[in-house]
Symmetry: C2
Subunit: 591 residues, 2 copies
Amino acid sequence: MPYRAPIDDILFAMNHAAGMKEGIESGVYADIADGFARTLLEEAGKFAEDILDPINRSGDLHGSRLVNGGVQTAPGWKEAYAKWHEGGWAGVVTPQEFGGMGLPHLLNSACFEMWTAANMAFMLCPCLSFGAVDALIAHGSKALQDIWLPRLVSGEWPATMNLTEPQAGSDLAALRSRAERNPDGTYRISGQKIFITYGDHDMSANIVHLVLARLPDAPPGTRGISLFIVPKFLLNADGAPGAANDLRCTGVEHKMGIHGSPTCVMSYGDHGGAIGWLVGEENRGLACMFTMMNAARLAVGLQGVALGERAFQHALAYACERRQGRAAAYNGEGMAPIVYHPDVRRQLMTMKALTQAARAICYLTADATDRSHRLPDAEARKQAGERVALLTPVAKAFSTDIGNEVASIGVQVHGGMGFIEETGAAQFMRDARIAAIYEGTNGIQAIDLVQRKLPLSGGATVRREIQDMRRTLAELDRVNAPEFGKMALRLHEAVDALERATEWMLGKTGSALEDALAGATPYLRLFGLARGGVSLAAMALAARDGESGAAIPTARFFAEQIAVGAGALETTVTEGAEGVGGALAALGAVA
Amino acid sequence: MPYRAPIDDILFAMNHAAGMKEGIESGVYADIADGFARTLLEEAGKFAEDILDPINRSGDLHGSRLVNGGVQTAPGWKEAYAKWHEGGWAGVVTPQEFGGMGLPHLLNSACFEMWTAANMAFMLCPCLSFGAVDALIAHGSKALQDIWLPRLVSGEWPATMNLTEPQAGSDLAALRSRAERNPDGTYRISGQKIFITYGDHDMSANIVHLVLARLPDAPPGTRGISLFIVPKFLLNADGAPGAANDLRCTGVEHKMGIHGSPTCVMSYGDHGGAIGWLVGEENRGLACMFTMMNAARLAVGLQGVALGERAFQHALAYACERRQGRAAAYNGEGMAPIVYHPDVRRQLMTMKALTQAARAICYLTADATDRSHRLPDAEARKQAGERVALLTPVAKAFSTDIGNEVASIGVQVHGGMGFIEETGAAQFMRDARIAAIYEGTNGIQAIDLVQRKLPLSGGATVRREIQDMRRTLAELDRVNAPEFGKMALRLHEAVDALERATEWMLGKTGSALEDALAGATPYLRLFGLARGGVSLAAMALAARDGESGAAIPTARFFAEQIAVGAGALETTVTEGAEGVGGALAALGAVA
């Protein structure tokens, strides 16, 4: 079934899980007041429904292929990219001084969710430009900005990120690609890169590669990495693409999913070196890359939300149509639609509740990003920035885990039809699978959360987050309506568990890091359950005023049926180190 | 990496999670004493490693295709099937009077696990004959048995099961295929069947279809279904395949996984009716089919174990080889093998512990099957039979859920390489996905457990199972060695939670079935955690005598890190009805 942009659900989450309503009232979001947010979302939703969704399956079936040295995308994709460019969608958040609309990240995140739900493989292409634009604005020289930003912000030429090499994946210190200085201030880049998303394609006249490489005299490790712009085509004097640069795609991977998105092996400098321009300072490339990666990680989290929403819509429609057996709740003629069977309902509610919790966390992260730029007070901006840092690994890993889980339940709801590719449910599951892996595996996110983010401001950032949750819980206690069931009880338990686990972690990160790392993954999950559950509760409280009737049962289901696992997660965090530590021998594979 | 048959692990589970050691001592398993079990497993393991594993990937890549009206299997598959037939592996459990070896189901289950781990898609073909043989022995006339059993038991001709029709999946009452009586005692079968595994192929000279259909005067619903043998080729007077029967494969599905296994749309009787022979009595086909399905459900559970084991082996090998970053536990040169990172170790231990728990439950079910036939005392045989009935839905659903989870973690351990098809990890995940769906979805299994199995003997069967768990716990309390950590505590909690949830369920199945059904899925998971954890503890206790050093840390990890979730599952079972019940409105799709 076709994707339907869930504008009302999205606006409700923006207003009440994230802070759009408050932000419009306080002026932080003055630029999207008076219904502007809805108007823009409706336009973006139309783009998702009318342009991106119809070519989603053709991308899965045809894939992107390497033909005569160049990558051909699936039928209709080139035309869709032209419409993306025409629509100006690439520049939603870019400041107006650089040619964008300067709108909130929160709004862009909601748009991105819809576009990705309609066609994840397609959206990987424009998505990479968001981070490239951020990096150029933050670190690029005026000259570089003047040349490249207009084409990137307009969406005319998309960007790529070239980090990974065969021996350097999660650990960029092992990177080997080389950059040598030319007398004219440019550089000659050479080396092999793998897993380069949209490393080549036929959708635009040029491609702006951002490439990490080492100078000959660079220090070893991550302090010796520099970032370069290396375009597919060098520019003529008039700025139009001219001679081909010394780079090529030598292979396209066969992947489990996102077939429409070409994952390329790239070879730079086979004929003396690809011409590149330094972004920022020499040997400071990692800082630039982190600028790109933070935004990219939230975007990947939103992919989890998007695929969850898509899979949910698909499964719900099937469950309302497919009839099998009898069900007590069904009084109609013939066999009951399977949505009437309690076990199917449990599956669908699990899909819905998980997806909405992940959406809440991602939107909250986007909202904090906006506040880190827009709040008038410097200290408040700093705190918002630290909140972004804290929530980003949770948004990425929790949401993409959920994307996998929800897409898999979606297959299950379809029964045997779910395993048949024509049904579409299997594609969502295959597509979703990569999101837990790239942009730092979810294990890396958990380590980042525990090792780098919890200690921010000596623990004050995470403690502030927990206090924020407790404010919602206090409101929940005050209201305590019967239809909320045990929501308050279960969420108190979850936040208590999170607080204890957090203090345990803060006590270990200095002295016993291995123990902390052994519990990092369940800790991140616990964080997601508590934060997600409380944000759904905030939506439920707002729904009491009648705005969204489904928010209360959804929040209740999440608290009673999902967040209820928080206590066990706390135990696995605080009691797991010995079991994980003893695993080396038990695995029997290590001397 | 190639599959390695884990003979030692398997024997250890057969001896100490299931009752092989006791059975050999008491005489129940006298026929596999004196090392016979190991000898046979080693032969079966060689077949898995040398014949089935090498053609696994070709099956995934080439798939089975419909060419000129017949299904062509992948290169090498026909030859492998000939070796299967030559080896006599189809008859391991069939009584000697019917041409088999008459060996225990427990032994056959262990063989089947290995064969399936090596090549799940291939093993779906011979696997269907196991149930067909059971059905023919239990319900077929002497004449039918004489004709068909020798070919089925030798593996010369494989069988199929034809149940599903487009409108009749989980609910067979809706079945429409027709059977009309011929004057000579045969029947004319017509109708369309879908999802027929190996409905056609080129690996054998004939195919023995078992088909469910309705007689013209049959009562409606499941009481009007009859079972027929409908061969692909009718037999000449000498018993050799002769004229083609009136049936054909009209399509092969494009599936997410098990590409080597043709999932066929079958059309019977396009030219007047396919000739069929009645198995058992008219209108009693469902009873025959249930004979086939119980064995098939355990086999599907073993598929979950098999894919879990396979994915674990693959991921562990990669984690020992792939190097990234530094790790405190690694003192060697250069980057650390990723198995040294605590979070990777957690993933691998989770894979291992889950897989071994599922194996324990499946082997226990097979062991009970043997005892239901072999025990000298009639009451003991009856109790063993009820134990099979109780454990079968758990073996099927818990193990296949775990197969999915473990195969997905296996992809994750590989990082980006896991998403690339050449690595192999993705195939295990795609292949495993179907096992939670077919032979009754896991939701159906949970309903079966709660609605039909808990009430067996007025609840005595399930209470006996819990008492059996408590005997192991008492032994655990007695030993209580430091290396067991909190194993005893966590397993006591899990069994207590299971017992309370069970009594709650028993109180609801009569009076408030909807409430019970709303909690059926988490109840089954809770059952699996408790039963699996206790069985691993039994293995750990046996390992104290030095037989297997890894059993203790594995059982401990399962208890402390996985079974610890039992309490929350109990809560979701007993407090979930209202949230699930209220879902119809929250889902917003049902009037």
